[in-house]
């Protein structure tokens, strides 16, 4: 089942067989038919590894995400895989578990066996990132030098969330910070900015891990403040808050309004449905793949990062502030 076996059996040279599979039009119809027949008979398929070596490109892409099982990462990964598939690329996936060291290690391990690499919310050092240089690279939710990147700007939408709460009469709105990084920075900026514009006193708690359990923990901390509304780092944290409130016999949004960020499927599954800032996860994955393919093909990408917009989705976890009894 090597190219030579097929060539011999079809009475042609290996080069011809190769052509049949790479540029069929360059081969006479008759010859092509014969080769194809033999290939079929012998169950021959060009060996992708050998092909990669000879061609100098692999037909593979790689992605490293913070956490494969996280629903946001998973949605991005799915979109990336599908978009990559449309162009015939297979996908390596690995999770860093939020460890800069593992992340860097994976990126380095993948680099030589992919045509391009996509790093989602990478937390490795700038230098480590630059050292990946020779491999076509696209960053998601991180800016560095002129590296191509796709970035979702939640600043404005988080601002909208705060305005939304203020319009409902809330004067004490607390922000539950997530792990330090690009994403949290944008959200803080939106929160602080809106508070300033509205004349509210910003109050931040955290940082918390972007987990349900940390949301549960955060809830009690929130209740120890005069806050009547919470903007959480993401949906999971927000749902953690929701749960703890219910357990303490409080009602959402009557006693406390809660806003999340991400708009994962979770947001519509909980009671009450979560008001949240929608981040275009799938779209950002698809966009990143297209940028990556551009880089690989040597096409000039847009200069500067591709900016995607977030959007406030109002559901039932936010409501008018309760009049103090």
């Amino acid at each position: 089942m090597s190219i030579r076996a097929v060539a011999a059996r079809a009475g042609v040279s290996p080069a011809t067989v190769s052509r049949v599979f790479t540029q069929p039009d360059a081969v006479a119809l008759e010859t092509r038919r014969r080769v194809l027949a033999v290939a079929d008979e012998l169950h021959y398929t060009p060996h992708p590894v050998a092909r990669s070596l000879a061609r100098g490109c692999t037909g593979n892409l790689g992605i490293v995400v913070p956490d494969i099982a996280n629903s946001f990462s998973a949605v991005v990964t799915k979109a990336v895989q599908q978009e990559a598939a449309r162009d015939g690329y297979a996908l390596f996936v690995s999770g860093s578990d939020e460890l800069a060291r593992d992340e860097e290690q994976w990126a380095r391990a993948m680099a030589p066996q992919v045509d391009g690499l996509m790093l989602v919310s990478p937390l490795m050092s700038d230098d480590a990132l630059r050292a990946l240089g020779p491999t076509p690279l696209v960053l998601s939710n991180r800016l560095l030098d002129a590296l191509p990147s796709v970035v979702t700007d939640a600043t404005e939408a988080v601002g909208h969330a705060v305005e939304h709460l203020a319009a409902l009469g809330h004067r004490e709105i607390v922000y539950l910070a997530g792990p330090e990084g690009f994403a949290n920075t944008m959200r803080v900026r939106g929160y602080d900015g809106a508070c300033r514009r509205l004349g509210l006193r910003p109050r931040r708690l955290g940082p918390f891990n972007a987990r349900f359990s940390d949301g549960v923990r955060a809830a009690d901390l929130v209740l120890a403040t005069p806050a009547t509304a919470v903007v959480a780092y993401n949906d999971e944290v927000a749902v953690g808050v929701l749960n703890r409130l219910v357990d303490r016999g409080l009602r959402v949004p009557d006693d406390l309004s809660v806003v999340g960020v991400d708009d994962t499927s979770l947001a519509e599954m909980v009671t009450p449905r979560l008001t949240t800032v929608r981040l275009p996860a799938a779209e950002s994955g698809r966009a990143a793949v297209r940028m990556l393919l551009d880089v690989i093909a040597g096409r000039p990408g847009p200069d500067g990062p591709l900016l995607l917009q977030a959007e406030l989705i109002v559901r039932s976890s936010t409501g008018p502030v309760r009049v103090h009894e």
Copy 2:
């Protein structure tokens, strides 16, 4: 940055450089040091593709799951990636979107560039599966010939769920079927068996897609029956039911008891917390990788499938049947 460049610079032959990276002990300490120094200086790393070609193995594994973004699949994938990483394997991931054709296509595309392939709940034909033969293969949640597989048997645990409900006084318990396949078959078997043992009349609805939205739809169908309890195909469907019930002003478990299957993180995030059958997703992923590595290494695996046990987790979505007013 090829092996020859390093060899030249270190004043040794390429073979020696190769040995330094593959069997360091076979090289004199002094030589090894020199080679390593040069390699470091030149940022040399053995090219994995060339290595694969020469060695005849790639150091990669592949997995194809029904849906990358599904939280159960995602947990399996994460566990597989981590376990594979422990043995130095990188992982190709692809999703079939429940399409037998795509699934088969991916499996075939991956096969020649991985050392082993893992198929989760595959739905391609037996013959297509057999044709993948030459590549080391492990199946998850599917049985075929003597192919190695890891299977979670939910039969017994679903039976426990029914017994649990019966003990709470429920006599009308409906099962919401999922998509036809191995998983659903096991659950039906557990449900039917328990109903028979307990003298209850089995009542099945569906099949439904294993989605939240189908759970929402199913809820109304359930309410059109005399059922006081529901066993849903999985947690997502169960949560869909939960949501619709709340919207219709009913209370869980007072008006209806609900049981899910999977024990995804969702189960503890909803209100009330979901009683569910826990499937050991991560463990099954890890076990599958170990089996796969055994096959690859030519070690004799266990004959027959590896059976993992499911377990009923009782939470707050099930309670005593309400006495008819």
